[in-house]
């Protein structure tokens, strides 16, 4: 029993990692196709049917590219930085449940990897780590653009994390638990997007900032800082930053769907299809959420750095704080 449980965990972990890395590849394709359609173009459609082999071609290209390390870079940190960035992105989704349980080979398998009592806290903690990778990448490159990008990233992520944390507290208060499963199950009757609309909007905005997506893509602002913190990176190391960004995009969409959009519940009842309806629900919501993120990128210009900080500290943060206070008060008064 013990051994089989271990094997189950290992298989599930591998499955998640492979799913995320594969998902990363196809997210890039998804993004390029959607962007192209929005920009009156066609997008990549040559490699394989509908361009489905494009990510493979890109991957091969990136692996075989020359890896350049600047002469005056801090080599150890320079190599370590992409790793520090990508690992938190990979482990972030461990606490997100995809469904209740399924029966495979006569065995009931729970559709989540870890059932932490402090799931939301884990999310916050892990997302904070990746900022180190970006800062270190910017600093170790010994390049002015990279340094500026890294500094911007640090300031931006730290200031937006607070508001994001408070936004996540809304659903936590409503569910009365920090376990992700409890939060998802508490949304059986009503999604938290309705009572927590403000928290939802704040989460939407801050999560875009957290993963450095437009219109908050300050750290890598192409038009200003060439490529920001990853200016000096090439080949697979560059791909790792890219990977971290896109995996975080998936993760943010999954977490957001679980916190506010009812997770694996609805539209299909989660126990249908032998329990596989749950993952399908979550997948659908994630894809729609990601479509929204891409849509925003195709639409909006970038906010200026100082305005971004103002927005974070002077608008979103107090609003999130107020939301938490009001939610807590209402829960105590009504539910208490």
């Amino acid at each position: 029993m013990e051994v089989s449980l271990w094997i189950e965990w290992v298989i599930k972990s591998l499955f998640i990692i492979l799913l995320l890395t594969g998902g990363f590849a196809y997210t890039t394709l998804y993004e390029r196709r959607v962007l192209a359609r929005m920009q009156v173009r066609i997008g990549p459609n040559r490699a394989g049917p509908f361009g489905l082999l494009q990510p493979v071609a890109d991957g091969i290209k990136l692996i075989f590219k020359e890896e350049l390390i600047p002469e005056k870079a801090d080599k150890l940190i320079f190599i370590l930085a992409p790793v520090i960035t990508v690992i938190p992105a990979l482990i972030i989704t461990a606490v997100v449940p995809w469904g209740e349980s399924v029966w495979v080979f006569g065995r009931e398998i729970k559709l989540y990897l870890a059932d932490l009592d402090v799931g939301v806290l884990y999310l916050m903690a892990v997302t904070s780590i990746s900022v180190y990778g970006i800062t270190l990448a910017g600093w170790s490159s010994n390049n002015k653009y990279a340094t500026l990008g890294g500094l911007r990233a640090t300031a931006q992520m730290i200031s937006y994390e607070l508001a994001m944390g408070f936004a996540m507290l809304g659903p936590v208060l409503m569910a009365g638990s920090m376990r992700m499963i409890d939060i998802v199950n508490a949304q059986r009757s009503m999604w938290f997007i309705l009572p927590q609309a403000i928290a939802f909007l704040i989460y939407l905005a801050t999560s875009l900032a957290e993963i450095n997506r437009a219109p908050f893509d300050m750290p890598e602002a192409e038009q200003e800082l060439t490529a920001g913190y990853h200016t000096e990176y090439s080949g697979m190391k560059f791909a790792l930053f890219f990977m971290a960004e896109y995996i975080k995009m998936i993760a943010i969409s999954m977490i957001g769907s679980s916190l506010f959009l009812g997770g694996y519940h609805w539209p299909l009842p989660a126990h249908w299809l032998g329990g596989f309806a749950g993952p399908i629900n979550l997948f659908g919501k994630t894809v729609i959420w990601m479509f929204f993120i891409i849509w925003v990128r195709a639409t909006l210009p970038r906010i200026r750095y100082d305005k971004l900080m103002q927005l974070g500290w002077k608008v979103l943060f107090p609003l999130a704080l107020l939301n938490v206070a009001v939610t807590a008060a209402v829960i105590v008064l009504v539910g208490g």
Binding site: L35, M38, Q39, V40, R41, K144, Y145, L148, A214, P215, D217, A221, E222, Q223, E224, L225, T226, R297, A298, T299, L300, P301, R302, I303, R304, Y305, D306, K307
Partner: protein, 579 residues
């Protein structure tokens, strides 16, 4: 009538007050006054302050080689409109030194540097007289008539080696591998140590300001390889945090000495060559050059040709503004969507150019005394559909999406402000000048072609910031459509060429300055003829180049992100800046 009265009065006044120092230029075909060098500043000050010639449009030099002097030519205008006042000053050829006008007209800055770089005329009192298009250390001044490039063949085209016998020499044959450089006699490449650009960087730390937090300033080179410099343009920026403290533009990476080549070419050979200046709007470039040479030749294109010219120029304006707004948004970080929407419309206009001129971008469509080909009836119908239906619709769509966008407004309003006084003093032209609240449009201020009969308004802004520049461009597109509608309604039938088309035009000796309101600003061509088949001097007053003079003023105190947007709002094309 009043202008001529003022001019007579001005002449009398100048002659009376400065006596011998100011002489009317009496050479046949020449205009304006010859001013003695030592009185130049005094004369210019009185021109600016007493007669209102506050806009210095063009500064350039002419080398009259066998004769022992060089000439600096100034074209002054009033910012309220009217024709030019031409001033010239002569300096001995072996040591040409002329007082700099930078203190009176800061807009002379880059133009004087260019004259120093290419002609070797020293401007005394210029704050930063460095080379601007060539690199420091370049041997000689290429626009001097006795300067010869490696593998020099002849002074004028067509070269005898290629015509009339039809032989030609490939420059590669002249240029065997590893043997293709010639060094000046006192230069040894083995011992050369690259200088650290001290002239460039050394001038930077000049701003001293009180600030509470003492932080280290860093120098960042934005460019020459950078995604937002619209080509190979480099800005050396001194930053304090993210704030720009000082800035120096460095250009010339695309320099090919357009003017020297232009002086070698025959008059007509220059027509396709002007296409390459601002390669987005070749039609306007053709227009300016054709005007200058027509002034010299004293010919007038037939009516239908004038209408076609205006039609093409306004279509060009529309496509250029579309393009520039699209890429301004790109600079603001909108990921290519607006620019691709803009490019879609541009392609439709380029389709028309292709049908009319045979080429989409390098149109080479204008001729002296007309245009190359007539516009067929079905193309006119196509333009009508565009002008009456598609383009206004798309322009409305653009406005609906962009004009009131929160992020766009917060990024653009109050950023990169240029006051009207600064704009005039810095010789800024085009939408940048008008956005600063100076309604100066060459089409109205000094009308050419048939613009006098057309009904349109000069778009202008109030605040002089990026947002007003954007609004001015939008409004100018609307006015262009208005002009196009009138032109399409009234276009007469008839010939499109005055006289017979000819390869070799006869241009009487003299000088002429032809200017048009190009999409980027006042585009001027200063041509000097000595009666030979090739122009003696061919100078381009490039609006993007001179508009860059204002970049430092606008960028002072801005953030890095603003800097990119400011550059985008000037709307430069490096083909024109570097020439």
């Amino acid at each position: 009538m009043t202008t001529s009265w003022i001019e007579t009065q001005l002449t009398e006044y100048l002659l009376e007050r400065f006596g011998e120092a100011v002489q009317p230029d009496s050479r046949p075909g020449y205009l304006g006054f010859l001013v003695a060098r030592n009185k130049l500043l005094e004369v210019c000050r009185s021109l600016r302050d007493e007669f209102g010639f506050d806009y210095l449009s063009s500064v350039t030099g002419v080398d009259y080689h066998p004769e022992p002097f060089m000439e600096v030519v100034y074209h002054f205008y009033k910012s309220t409109g009217g024709s030019a006042l031409v001033m010239k000053t002569q300096a001995p050829r072996d040591n040409p030194t002329v007082p700099s006008l930078c203190s009176l007209y800061p807009g002379a800055d880059f133009q004087e540097r260019e004259a120093w770089d290419l002609l070797g005329i020293r401007f005394e009192g210029h704050p930063d007289l460095r080379r601007i298009l060539m690199w420091e250390g370049f041997a000689g001044h290429p626009l001097r008539k006795d300067w010869r490039e490696p593998f020099f063949e002849e002074d004028a085209k067509p070269f005898k080696s290629r015509w009339p016998e039809g032989h030609f020499i490939r420059v590669e044959d002249n240029n065997p591998y590893k043997n293709n450089v010639s060094y000046p006699p006192d230069f040894d490449p083995g011992k050369w140590v690259p200088d650290k650009d001290e002239l460039l960087y050394g001038g930077l730390q000049s701003f001293e300001e009180d600030s509470e937090i003492k932080t280290e300033r860093i120098v960042v080179n934005l460019g020459p390889q950078h995604p937002s410099t619209h080509g190979v343009f480099r800005m050396v920026v001194l930053l304090e945090g993210e704030r720009v403290v000082d800035l120096k533009p460095v250009m010339g990476y695309l320099h090919r000495n357009h003017e020297k080549i232009g002086e070698r070419n025959t008059y007509l050979q220059n027509m396709p060559f002007t296409d390459r200046l601002d390669y987005i709007c070749s039609m306007s470039n053709n227009f300016g050059y054709a005007l200058a040479v027509e002034k010299l030749m004293g010919i007038q294109p037939p009516e239908r040709a004038e209408y076609i010219r205006v039609m093409m120029a306004e279509l060009t304006r529309f496509l250029n503004h579309m393009f520039s707004i699209g890429f301004l948004l790109n600079d603001l970080g909108a990921f290519f969507t607006p620019s691709l929407y803009a490019i879609e419309e541009r392609e439709l206009i380029l389709d028309i150019f292709e049908e009319v001129a045979g080429s989409r971008m390098m149109c080479n469509y204008f001729r002296f005394g007309g245009v190359a080909r007539d516009v067929p009836e079905q193309v006119l119908d196509k333009i009508k559909t565009l002008v009456h239906d598609r383009l206004p619709r798309k322009l409305d769509e653009f406005e609906r999406y962009l004009t009131h966008n929160e992020i766009l407004r917060s990024r653009c309003e109050g950023v990169g402000v240029l006051t009207p006084e600064q704009a005039i003093a810095l010789s800024v032209a085009g939408p940048v000048l008008r956005a600063s609240g100076v309604p100066y449009d060459v089409r109205r201020a000094d009308p050419y072609s048939i613009y006098e009969r057309l009904e349109f308004d000069v778009a202008y802004g109030i605040h002089g910031d990026i947002y007003d520049r954007y609004l001015v461009r939008i409004e100018e597109m609307r006015q262009s459509l208005r002009i196009l509608r009138q032109v399409l309604k009234d276009i007469p039938n008839g010939p499109v060429m005055a006289g017979k088309p000819q390869f070799q035009v006869r241009v009487p000796p003299g000088e002429a300055y032809g200017r048009v309101e190009g999409p980027k600003g006042e585009l001027g061509f200063y041509v000097v003829s000595n009666g030979k088949p090739n122009p003696w001097r061919y100078h381009v007053r490039a609006p993007s180049f001179i508009n860059l003079t204002s970049l430092k003023t606008m960028a002072h105190g801005a953030k890095v992100a603003d800097l990119v947007a400011i550059l985008g709002s000037i709307d430069i094309v490096l083909g024109e800046v570097d020439r």
